[in-house]
Amino acid sequence: MKKTLFEKVWDRHVVARFPGGGTLIYIDRHLIHEVTSPQAFEGLRLGGRKVRRPDLTFATMDHNVPTDDRLNIKDPISRAQIETLTRNCKEFGVRLFDLNDERQGIVHIIGPEMGLTLPGTTVVCGDSHTSTHGAFGTFALGIGTSEVEHVLATQCLPQTKPMTFRVEFTGRAAAPVSAKDLILKLIGLVGTAGGTGYVFEYAGEAVRALSMESRMTMCNMSIEAGARAGMIAPDQTTFDYIAAKPRPFAPKDAAFDKALSFWKTLPSDPGAAFDRTLTIDASKVAPQVTWGTSPGMVTDVDARVPDPGAVPGYNRTDVEGALKYMGLVPGTPITDIRIDTVFIGSCTNGRIEDLRGAAAVFKGRRVAKGVRVLVVPGSQTVLRQAESEGLDRIFREAGAEWRQSGCSMCLAMNPDQLSPQERCASTSNRNFEGRQGKGGRTHLVSPEMAAAAAVTGHFVDLRTWKEDAR
């Protein structure tokens, strides 16, 4: 029988089928962070249970971490949560990459960096953006705290088998159109619930042409369309990324060769059936900017803020509410929207390639007067790489702040927050009300678009941008 990539990975992980329905699947990697794990460890303690496979469980701290003085957490409640993770990892024998570790970073950035994320495996984490790891042909899904406890105790997860949804991006996206624009375009087309119950497989010429970093950006936002996961078939780009050093947890030498021949069997069989399919011509996708309070409220940079009655998938009241919150008037050109702040970072766009893209725009330019710019590398590894390439100097010379690694202003659990009505061009993943700070207004864009907004003070169409701000 012809199988899809997802079905191949799923079938290899079936441990048992429950008589009443549902399947027990095995989890190859369990990633942990400080926010969604304390109650899970407490549950284990109350039940007198242990971590079944501490060798497959890896922890880091990212959500609460300050990005300036990172070892000095002033908020006592944040500090207590960090300390709790340290204690729990020690008690249960879980490997922790803490704030003193040179590999610390956002959980979805460091997994791939260290070679923990491998094709054909299953990865879970108590975080919705676990879908990021699907870029490797991994079935990776975000779970709740009860499920975190479940995986800690059993290394398994009861699941209902999701349906499959193939999204083919034909043609080539021409720079400066990036993976961020492609995925935002998809979310705009199918809506924030359009993927609910499905696993996306991203395919087509435009996806094959993407680097691993860009593939991770694409898979990262699968959850913003409601999908259980997003996957991309592994290919030479994937293999080269895994073979790059140092990835301490990736297979090496003979083990690598054995893995490689297995990985090559993973792509969906030609003619394999999907429950749903969609084709998008990547060559026609424009840089995207969100204008509302849901990632599906998105449009082309050369378009205008829409009329509330004319937004597919959203009713008038919801759009009116979103525009009121965002302080936007229908008919306003997107490029007329002025911004106060720029955030470059997060598990969506905090990798080295993202920083290179932003730095290329900042180089030789200055941040517009009155605009605050935060550049937050996704991990300490990304930070060191960026500094070795001199990117930090470019950011600083342009007038941006170069910070330490963490989730930062993507969800503003640490001190990096927006004030009410502060308008932000952000490379993160959610423009929900209050996400970056109560009353804050978020526009999701690519790193290059964010950098251009930083130097001009408003959104610009990178395809036609003239050098007026030098």
Binding site: R12, H13, V15, A16, F18, G20, G21, G22, L24, Y26, D28, R29, V35, T36, Q39, E42, G47, R49, L56, I77, S78, A80, Q81, L118, G126, G142, I143, G144, T145, S146, E149, H150, A153, T154, C156, P158, G191, A193, G194, T196, G197, I223, G226, K258, A259, F262, Y314, N315, T317, D318, G321, L411, A412, M413, R430, F432, E433, G434, K438, G439
Partner: protein, 211 residues
């Protein structure tokens, strides 16, 4: 887990689609390491105005909905973050069930609840009940027109009943496995551990580097 069989209570309607878990429980409350204490912070940013006072316009602040225990909203409830704190906040604010409509979109069925939220809800014995858009619209209208309208969510018969002068039943579907777990108040981890032999056998033949 406490079993869920049936619940009767006051209905409150929240006329918003795509209610995300950031709204249900804002990030500043996720720093707690406890499982309790989230109830007062449910919908914090919607409940309170800029000066910190309660917003009288917000549904859950209206006196007629005080004590409500069945929350009815629009499509794609619980989207966004995986935070289970959202479910804990809803329960700890006194709710015993949530209802949202599935949507028919060009022949495709768009589920009423986001995947992770629905899973989290069931793990905590909070039924996330899906009805049709028309049925949910009916409930919105009935609640608007009828003060103190109560409903019963009955899992055994798979029915939501509006207690109008003439009772109005709405049957719903639920995964039989989930239903059994909810009715029995079964411990999910305990059930999986019954498969311990299968897990051990699987581990013997499985290379976690190869998946």
């Amino acid at each position: 887990m406490k079993p869920f069989r049936s619940h009767r209570g006051l209905v409150v309607t929240l006329d918003r689609a795509n209610v995300d878990t950031d709204q249900i429980i804002a990030k500043q409350f996720l720093k707690s390491i406890a499982r309790t204490g989230f109830g007062p912070h449910l919908f914090h940013d919607w409940r309170t105005r800029a000066d910190g006072s309660p917003d009288p316009e917000f549904a859950l602040n209206r006196p007629r909905f005080k004590g409500a225990s069945i929350l009815v909203a629009r499509n794609n409830f619980g989207c966004g973050s995986s935070r289970e704190h959202a479910v804990w906040a809803i329960q700890q604010a006194g709710f015993a069930a949530v209802i949202a409509p599935r949507r028919e979109d060009g022949g495709l069925r768009v589920p009423g609840f986001a995947d992770i939220f629905r899973n989290n809800a069931f793990k905590n014995a909070l039924p996330a009940i899906e009805l049709s858009e028309q049925e949910v619209e009916d409930i919105f209208r009935a609640v608007e027109a009828t003060p103190a309208l109560e409903a019963t969510v009955d899992l055994e018969t798979q029915r939501v009943t509006l207690h109008l002068t003439k009772e109005r039943p709405y049957p719903f579907e639920i995964d039989p496995a989930v239903k059994e777990r909810l009715l029995g108040g079964l411990d999910d981890i305990g059930l999986t551990l019954k498969e311990d032999a299968a897990i051990a056998a699987f581990e013997k033949g499985h290379d976690t580097q190869l998946g």
